[in-house]
């Protein structure tokens, strides 16, 4: 479990930091990496003080209580409701890594144009208004959507399709629309400055995702192995699906391959501990193709600037994955599922409705929460967006006073 915790943190830095940081122009590489890195520190502190308690204290159906304030009582003894075989503190650590990477995913939408201070305030408020409530509803004891601890609408989400990917992806779309397009979008070239390093970042994400999904089994057992299998298979078929779509229109690209793999990992996340290998292969392939269309076609159709496609991959992929989990979830894989309460494949079509309710709540809380937070940040920070001058010289110099590549130094 501790290794899984470390793997999930590796997804944020270096994984996401390299993936995102090197997809932007080189004048913004440090600022983009700094956003992920800031969350490794900021989300950790918030989690220790109050975040864990609000997420996993047994409060109402919507938010936890303050029983674990400053991690009081979260120690070496297991908390049987959540994880009977590992220390409560280890469970807290594992969940903390999710609370770090989720907001970090949003940074892809406003990359290259958000003020650093505004970003810090945004992420703090977002953790409180969107992440903690959603994590509590789906995974917290007594949460509204908790499928195994007394939720009234049981929604399957093994490792974070609704909690992580829909919340971050949909919030990302709201941010992209609220902030507007980058200066020069559509007229100036905005090529990734190093696909080599983005490639390394994406591959670290792929590996780290084994901690994310297989680790969510909370033990080194058959379920963990099954989740590992589903995760890997979906990444593989999604990469193939995305690249095939590209190949039909132009050339099979490296960026397409790694984007497809990430899309597949997103789609399988909610399903990873519930589905057999066959459905995992299908979910990945469909996910690769759907996310390709969202990123390449739909974004251009509606002409919004989601710089690094946080919505097209995480929002769309998370939604698709959550719904397909309601189709393919089966008791044959996860014995915690009650008799007759699996997905459509187990003869329980109603589970798709439960999944849709979960999806709708995640979308709703992400849209409303993010809009409120952006308004607050706008007022407090005097605008969330960097000035046109700052954007032109790049956020590295304007926000942080450094440059990423001083080759002549």
């Amino acid at each position: 479990m501790l290794v899984s915790c470390a793997l999930v943190l590796m997804m944020t830095g270096p994984g996401l930091a390299l993936f995102y940081g090197c997809l932007v122009r080189k004048k913004n590489v440090l600022a983009t990496m700094m956003q992920s890195f800031t969350l490794m520190a900021l989300a950790t502190v918030l989690w220790a003080i109050i975040g864990y308690s609000l997420s996993f204290g047994e409060g109402s159906a919507f938010i936890g209580d303050l029983r674990y304030l400053m991690l009081e009582g979260v120690g070496g003894d297991p908390m049987p409701d959540y994880a009977a075989t590992i220390p409560h503190q280890t469970w807290m650590l594992f969940q903390m890594m999710f609370a770090i990477i989720t907001p970090a995913l949003i940074t892809g939408a406003f990359a290259e144009r958000m003020k650093f201070g505004a970003m810090c305030l945004f992420m703090t408020l977002w953790s409180f208004l969107v992440y903690y409530p959603m994590a509590h509803m789906v995974w917290g004891k007594g949460g509204l959507l908790n499928a195994f601890l007394g939720g009234s609408i049981p929604c399957f989400d093994f490792a974070g399709g609704t909690v992580v990917h829909i919340t971050s992806g949909v919030s990302a779309l709201v941010c992209a629309l609220y902030l507007g397009k980058r200066k020069g979008y559509g007229t100036e070239p905005m090529k990734p400055h190093s696909l080599v390093l983005s490639f390394i970042g994406a591959c670290l994400l792929w590996v780290g995702w084994f901690g994310f999904n297989a680790g969510s089994a909370l033990a080194a057992n058959a379920l963990a192995s099954s989740a590992f299998t589903a995760t890997h298979f979906a990444a593989a078929t999604a990469a193939i699906g995305w690249v095939l779509m590209e190949w039909l229109h132009s050339k099979p690209s490296v960026l397409g391959g790694i984007s497809g793999a990430v899309a597949g990992l997103v789609v399988i996340t909610p399903a990873s501990g519930f589905v057999k290998p066959g459905p995992a292969l299908i979910m990945g392939f469909v996910g690769g193709i759907v996310c390709y269309f969202m990123v390449v076609k739909v974004k251009n159709m509606f002409n919004y600037d989601d710089s690094l496609d946080a919505f097209g991959v995480h929002g769309a992929g998370g939604t698709l994955g959550a719904i397909l989990t309601g189709v393919f979830a089966t008791k044959a894989v996860n014995s915690a599922i009650a008799d007759g309460k699996g997905g459509l494949i187990d003869g329980n079509g109603g589970q798709i409705v439960n999944q849709l309710i979960g999806v709708a709540i995640a979308w709703g809380i992400a849209i409303v929460g993010t809009l409120i937070i952006l308004k607050i940040c706008d007022i407090v920070c005097g605008g969330v967006r960097a000035t046109p001058e700052q954007e032109t010289i790049g956020l590295d110099v304007s926000q942080h006073g450094e440059e990423g590549y001083n080759f002549d130094a």
Partner: protein, 112 residues
């Protein structure tokens, strides 16, 4: 004295250098340049965003030779750089009014 500037395909550099050596030229300046003539560039696509890249990489050779040697040097460059396809490059010849060797002040053709 004449200055010869030649824009060539990067992969033909070794052939051109060999031909120039045969013609007895041993002074040469090479720079990496980007540009285009009649040949088309290429398209790059990143997640559906298409960028036309018109400026393609070429090498620019510069050498100054005595006027009597110009035809021979130009012929050597053509021999080394020619593939017969569009995009082989161009050669420009112009007048040079003076040349000075910095080390000892030699001037004119003696400085070449």
């Amino acid at each position: 004295m004449k200055k010869i500037e030649a824009i060539i395909q990067p992969f033909k550099l070794e052939d051109v250098k060999a031909a120039l050596k045969k013609a007895g030229v041993d002074g040469l300046t090479i720079s990496e340049v980007r540009g285009h003539g009649r040949e088309k560039g290429h398209t790059e696509i990143y997640r559906g965003q298409e960028y036309e890249v018109q400026e393609i990489p070429r090498l620019k050779l510069e050498l100054v030779v005595p006027a009597a040697q110009v035809d021979e040097v130009v012929a050597a460059i053509i021999e080394g750089a020619r593939t017969g396809k569009i995009g082989d490059g161009k050669i420009f010849v112009s007048e040079v009014s003076q040349a000075i060797r910095i080390r000892n002040g030699d001037a004119g053709e003696a400085a070449l």
